[in-house]
């Protein structure tokens, strides 16, 4: 009997071992399915679903640097910056030399340093480019575009109304840039709907002062804020010019006679439009400066006598986004690398 029991015991152990072997792959299969699906979801921009899948995978394999890397990207995408940072660090701790994790972390730090915090004054420029993702990208990785949620740069607690005042501007033959900018900003602030944009027409005039004196004129801004019951007052200085930059250039073109590409030096007529705006956000109750930024952009247009209004709106399209982002959450696209499975 004993030997029989022993025999059965061995059989049971054998069966259990066999089951364990079977269960292992099944579990692994499920994990693989989840990881593949999560990567697909991330690629399609379904970041919450991707996060759900990677979080589940991380529960099964908590120290897998690939899963942690992907999870960190999803956390970033959902706006959980601090948690993402920790997860990247966990991934790096598990695989210190993983180039993908290093790349993502580097890119993440630069991105959030540029766009994540409140700054007193910055030159608006894209983040410094980290290592070329193509160098670290392999066939197991996938580069995905992530629309990162950025919070408003100003703390909007207890602030409800916004007034766009006039801007210091040099009226020239090109355009009444002050008036156009105010009109444009009021429209954009209104669309963003974070603060109620006050309908004040014409926009309140501001003292003809140097910009630095204007910034220090706290009593004026406080007065303006109280007069119009505005929690935030927006003003600043704007400069919009164009100049003829025609000249000789090397131009490549395809010869109609031979069909070959030919380089020629020829005279090219073109204009450069130069748009610079210094934007100031004041506290309407205290008159203090809350935020200051300087944005500048130059754009070349072929030919002379281009329409200045069309050029103005084309140039200002990107800049106004950055101005509105001071009081409104927005998304900014950056790329990250994730593991496919």
């Amino acid at each position: 009997m004993g030997s029989i029991r022993g025999g059965r015991g061995r059989i049971r152990i054998g069966v259990l071992a066999l089951l364990a072997c079977l269960v292992g792959p099944v579990r692994a299969g499920e994990l693989e399915q989840n990881l593949k699906f999560a990567a697909e979801m991330a690629k399609q921009g379904n970041w919450r679903e991707a996060h759900f899948r990677w979080a589940r995978a991380a529960e099964i394999k908590p120290d897998d640097p690939r899963i942690l890397n992907n999870l960190a990207v999803a956390e970033e995408a959902l706006g959980e910056r601090q948690q993402a940072r920790k997860t990247y660090e966990r991934a790096l701790a598990a695989a210190p030399r993983d180039p993908v994790v290093s790349h993502n972390l580097d890119r993440s730090v630069r991105f959030w340093n540029t766009f994540g915090g409140h700054r007193a004054e910055t030159e608006n420029s894209p983040p410094a480019t980290p290592a070329d993702p193509r160098r670290v990208r392999g066939r197991h990785t996938l580069e995905v575009s992530v629309p990162f949620p950025l919070p408003p740069r100003l703390d909007l607690a207890n602030r409800k109304t916004l007034l766009v005042a006039s801007f210091l501007g040099r009226e020239n033959e090109v355009l009444d840039s002050d008036r156009e900018l105010v009109r444009l900003l009021r429209g954009e602030f209104h669309k963003s709907a974070t603060l109620e944009t006050l309908d004040v027409t014409p926009p309140p005039a501001i003292p003809e002062q140097r910009l630095e004196d204007l910034v220090k004129n706290v009593s004026f801004w406080r007065h303006l804020g109280r007069e119009w019951n505005a929690d935030v007052v927006v003003s600043g200085a704007v400069q919009y010019d164009r100049r003829d930059v025609s000249g000789y250039q090397d131009v490549d073109y395809v010869s109609e006679a031979t069909g070959q590409k030919v380089r020629r030096t020829m005279f090219v007529e073109q204009e450069e439009f130069d748009f610079t705006v210094t934007v100031l956000f004041f506290d309407g109750r205290t008159g203090e400066l809350l935020y200051r930024d300087r944005l500048a952009r130059k754009v070349l247009f072929r030919g002379l006598n281009n329409d200045p209004i069309t050029a103005f709106y084309e140039i200002s399209e990107g800049l106004t986004d950055d101005i509105v982002a001071v009081v409104s959450p927005r998304r900014r696209i950056d790329s990250r690398l994730i593991y496919r499975g």
Binding site: Q33, K36, Q44, N46, R48, E49, F52
Partner: protein, 985 residues
Amino acid sequence: MGSPKRAACLIAALVAACAPAAAQSSGFGQNKIAYDRFDWKVYASPHFDVHYYGAEENLLQDVVSDAESAYLRISKELDHELSFRVPLVIYKTHQEFSQTNITLAELPEAVGAFAEPVQNRMVVPIDVPPDELYKLLSHELTHIFQYSIFFEGYLGRALRARPPTWLFEGMASYFAKDETNLDRMAIRDAVVNNFLPPIQALSGLSFLAYRYGHAVFDFIEQEQGKEGVRNFIYEYRKVLLTNNIEKAVKETFGYDAEEFNRRFNRYLRKKYFPVLLEKKSPDDYGKEIAVKRRGRSVPTFGPALSPSGELVAALAAPGMKLDLVVLSAEDGKLVRNLTSGWTNQYQGLVTKVFEGKRDIAWSPSGDQIAVFVKRENRTPLFIFNALTGKREREIDLENLYECAAPAFSPDGRRVAFEANLNGVVDIFELDLDSGEIRNVTQDEFFDTNPWYAADGKSLLYDRRLGEFWKIFSVDLSDPSRKTQLTFGTESDLQPSYSRDGNTIFFSSDRDPNGVYNLYGLDLRSGEVRQYTDVVGGCFAPVEMADHGDESSLVFVAFYTGTFKLYRMPLLKAETTIEPSARMEQPVEAEPFQPPLKLTLDESRKQPYKRRWDLSAPNVGVGLTDDGTFLSNVSLAFSDLLGDHRAFLNFYSVSSFSNLQAMYLNLKHRTNWGAQIFDYRDYFLSASLSGLSRDQTYRTTGGTVFAQYPISRYYRVEGSLGVLDRAQDYLVGTFASGNPAFQSIKERFVTAGVGLVGDTTRYQDFGPFQGKRFRIGVTYGANVGGTDLGDLLNYSLDFRTYRQLTRRSTLAWRLSAAVSAGSAETYYAFGGINQLRGFDFREFFGSRVAFSNLELRFPLVDAMRFPFMTMGPVRGFLFFDVGAAELRDGLYYDSRLGIVRADFSTEPPTPIKFKFWDSENNRLQDGRAAYGLGIQLYFAGLQLNWAWSYALPYTRYVPNADRTNLIPVEQKSDGLRSVFYIVYDF
């Protein structure tokens, strides 16, 4: 749509087995299976003979009360008495109802009941809430009154009349008063979105035709009172056979149909436009996330959210059928179609969207999506892997029928659902680990739409109280503890908990206009908040997982004629009803009671007695490409329940007449029957030598047969019989090579078996996807007459259809027949759609085969003329190939009219059959043709024109001195055009 017609299948199958020249005939068709046995009895109430069976005994009194109440009311309103007793056949459940033999057509879920005009039978399943049963009986009884009023007992009038759907169904709905707020939603939506067609256009069977028709009768009542309704009905009776509605309108109202349409549209707008002005569209609340095809939304409903809340599973129709899909809840982008393509694993996904029920569930683990499917007479639960789309489990729920509305428990180990157990619909719970099922509501009420609480200890559900659905909660540890959560005389549907568990979201028609909108019952304050206020209707709210500060609902809206999926932020409520205001409403809906409550008289119960009556006759005609006329006339008789059927079939090919008398017993799963027949036909119609005009055969005999359906798609068949035949046998050849025939009489005792499969799906133009086949063998032992030996015949007919685009199909057929016994049987083929480019039945032999490949595509949908509409017109490209061989490798050349031989020897040596001339790399005795054609559907017939081009082949022709045959290349005769009237294979 393919209708499973058992009798038709059997007839055709038997023809195929017994008729020698019928290699082209085939017995296909899907099986309508009698899964259950019923012990029928009859109760004679004052106006009805109620046919019921034992399991319905306790419901008989209610049915009789409802039916007699309906009779009294409708008879009075129509001022008409029926001169006959109405046979009312009731089934305990819809799945039992769908097994009825009263019609041999398939009865899908959408068919709630029916009435037929020949024997005036009402056939009704009774597993619906009491108030709905009364309305259902009233609806079908109105049809019986229509038959009595319009047809006046004349079968000819019934067969010739073509009343428009809106009139027949609208009138039935009007007198039954069966329109619900869900129904009104459809007509209201159509009116305010301005897509109501003129009344003349609604002659087809559609949901809108029912609703539109009902509205017409409401309008007539408003304009002219009940008397006006009656006048219109009796005026229509005068013009029934011409279907001249315009005349009936003119006679009744004094103005023409155009004016009627104008006034009717004004009535509808006046009724519904105020609703439009004060209400919004679902787009005002949120973003549409329905599946799109070519930029247009397709019906999408039944949402179930993934745990992340970013994906939503739904039922949608991105193609030609309803699929289970996964979408992005953000923008509706299709992520997965879990049921793409065609399958024979089930007939379709179960949806009850128009009954206000949920359809699918997503497991809390996120990996599984559950949906019920219709398979045979059951509704098993299918669990799909949400990630891969694979079907992981299928669970057949024994004894439970018509399952719907699944919901996963929070731990993902149980699924709650609605199911029908012996005619009572309750909420059941399935343990996915153990497979155990328990009834968690266990009451006489109809219950549906379960939804678990977050702790899994209780669940919400809908209970039918009187005419209304109310929300209840049941304690799962003690199912006797049920709590009613909503009150009043309105329906509150599809409850779901908010993610924090403090609110119950639901859809309710408590709006004064009866519009279904989304509401939330705050369980802490007792407040009811209304979140939407739309023209159409909003259903099935589910709260998405929080994303930041924003809370959103995913819901289904009926808008612009269809159900679509929406996502809306949960912002400020439209209105809030305080608990104090709610208390002013009626506390409880009244249980339904019919106007008459009759008691049963036991002496009026009788066992069912079979009585034969005439069913509808059937007439068909055809024309082959050589002008041969084909016809078929069938007379059918059946008993009242349709279980016993008799047929008299007369059909002809040219001047050859055939007769068949058959009895069929369809009562049980195994069908059986007997037949006697006399077939006369020919297999060789011409000979250039003038020796023979027609070589004929006659087969007279009788068989008993049976068939057993393995499933809906496959069956086995068998037969035993006696056959007496006289056939022109090929007994030799003359010196000229002309065949010598001799009529020989034989008698056989036969036995045959066959296997039949049919998974074909149909559109209006014919089959477009699936396959069908019949393989059969018949053995006959010679028992009399000239003893040439025994009979052994094999046959194969295989057809497959592959959908290429929405309306184009690739079709392939292979048909073969082999006579392998000592007693030979001849088969003939050629022409029509068997081998185009050659004459009808040009080829004959004891071993024949042909194959056709066709690409069928649409050309013109309809050709409209002032006096009629023809169409559609479709085109086809084809490639046909076939060959016929006589015994011992002999080959009969139909064009020379001789059996081919080498005449240089004495006696002449046969030049044997060879399909392919390998020396010259072309066909020899095989024939092939390709070409194109068009077909037009007219008066129920398919008219075909084909232009074919035959492939070259090696042919033996007389040499110069006509002493022998020499092989030459027979080039094509050029383009050959033919016309024939037969249906596509």
